[in-house]
Amino acid sequence: MIEVEALRKVYRSPKKQPGLAGSLRALFHPEWTELAAVDGVSFTIQPGEKVGFLGPNGAGKTTTLKMLAGLLLPTSGTIRVAGRTPFGRSTEHLQAITLVMGSKQQLRWDLPPTETFELNRAIFGLEPAAFAETRDELVALLELEPLLNRPVRNLSLGERMKCELAAALLHRPQVLFLDEPTIGLDVRMQVAVRQFIEAWNQRTGATILLTSHYMADIEALCDRVIVIDGGKLRYDGALSALIAQYAPDRRVVVRTLRPPTPAELAQAVGFVEEDGSLVAMTPPEGVKDVVGLALRVLPVRDLSVEETPLDEVIRRLFAEERPR
């Protein structure tokens, strides 16, 4: 569905020394610097896949998404999305994709969302019956009914994002590029948006490429992640393999009935205090022994075994912090 080969995007920007002299020099003898925002990235995404696209700020995620959508011309490399080259934004390409940017909106600010829906129906040339069916489906899934006739300016951020998603999906695109769709939303609304994306993928088989700074989005939706940093591909594979590679340890967290005595603490080798709990890190094969030790020597009230949070996994990946 998406094929990217040796994709590269170089931005050229003027270089200017500080001060008046620098400004004058830049005026008469401009110098340019080149920055490769995306540098030789290749990947393939199969129809129906949900892929997380991760990287720190400035890694090249949005630039890549814009090239996939057809908004930016690659400096070199090839892209095929649903069998077409995005650049030039043919009608067929635009009918096949959608790009939702959490920080930009297409909804008409002073009109109810229904007006933007109608506008998109006309612009995309949707048949009335098909449009009504999709709109009703989206309204039901996103629980939009109470919002439909209120001006967009009176909706909360989360309500607006739900309406944005509906507006962006009315033409039933095969490929969804979602750039930070949950940014700024509260936890409840993040969950609602995630559940909707999952449900839409199940219903339509749409291919989804998702960027998010909220790792909970990635964990909930994506089996596969592509990680880029400094414009280069750093990882492409299963999320579970990424965790296994960069953070295989488990966290054994123990909450006790009473504060442990110094003697108990001395026996609980490997446990350290953290936010009122006792925590030990161990490889998966050591979990049984560590749990056994805790139950034997500590006044255990509650015990849990957790994977390393994905945020930490990504932090380690970017910091090149390999497991010992």
């Binding site: 959508a69 908004l71 650049f87 934004r89 009608t91 635009l94 930009k104 009109l111 506008l119 995309f124």
Partner: protein, 268 residues
């Protein structure tokens, strides 16, 4: 061709939503429209100036006719595309528009046209009041060449829209592109017949002004509506307007294509 057909089919919805949006912005819209009432001020000034006799080839009644016509033409050809494009391009909102299978300029055109009924609603009482004050302003209505006027008005709308599209596209390259439009607007004020009839200009400058697009933005339709152009002269005004509309249309298409290509190269 399919794209054009889709755009044409979408046109009624674009107009309807555009009108709904304009009504939602009604307070702001009234203020914007009122900023285009310079002809009323000019009418008062020139009616004082003509108290002691004709000014050039305009007597007091002719000046009244001229500025009522100027008010009407300005309202019906008004457009704020350049400001909208400038903002959309600089904030990145333009990217959203590029991902729709209809040229964003067509959507902006629909938005601009959608305001016209609202402008007419404001114009009717205003022009009515002016005609009560200066009844002679209506004297020449029987001499108006209505078809050439309608065509000349259309050409003026197109010239204004295309020029603003060109200037708006400059935001693809320069953050301060509105400054260039301000220069254009200053030239418009003195060369279009907006603040005084072009026949009052010194001969050399008048020749330049009458050949420029500014004359076809204002003077040509105004002189048609005030009954001063008849027969061959009326059709000459239509031809000049059509030529400038065509040239500006080609210019807008070229700048649009290059601007979007630049946008594709550097992003926003």
């Amino acid at each position: 061709m399919n794209d054009l057909l889709r755009a044409l089919r979408a046109w009624p919805t674009l107009l309807r939503v555009g009108l709904a949006e304009m009504v939602a912005y009604r307070a702001e819209l009234v203020i914007w429209i009122l900023t285009s009432t310079t002809p009323l001020i000019m009418m008062v000034i020139w009616s004082r100036a003509s108290q002691d006799g004709a000014v050039g080839d305009y007597d007091a009644d002719a000046l009244a006719r001229y500025f009522v016509a100027t008010l009407i033409v300005r309202q019906l050809t008004g457009c704020w595309l350049v400001w909208e494009m400038n903002q959309d391009i600089r904030t990145g909102a333009f990217s959203v528009q590029l991902l729709r299978p209809v040229n964003p300029l067509l959507i902006h055109a629909a938005n601009t046209l959608a305001v016209i009924p609202f402008r007419v609603l404001l114009l009717v009482p205003l022009v009515g009041a002016l005609l009560l004050w200066k009844p002679a302003a209506a004297d020449a209505l029987g001499q108006v060449a209505w078809l050439p006027f309608a065509l000349s008005l259309t050409a003026a709308w197109l010239i204004n829209f295309f020029v603003q599209a060109m200037m708006g596209c400059l935001a693809f390259w320069w953050r301060q592109s509105l400054g260039i439009f301000n220069v254009w607007h200053a030239l418009f004020l003195i060369s279009s017949g907006y603040v005084f009839p072009l026949s009052l200009l010194p001969p050399g400058i008048r020749g330049f002004a009458e050949a420029s697009p500014f004359a076809y933005l204002m003077s040509a339709p105004v002189e048609l509506l005030s009954g001063r152009l008849q027969g061959a002269a009326a059709w000459q005004a239509v031809g000049g307007g059509a030529l400038w509309a065509l040239l500006c249309g080609v210019g807008a298409a070229v700048v649009w294509r290059r601007g979007v290509a630049h946008h594709e190269a550097v992003g926003a």
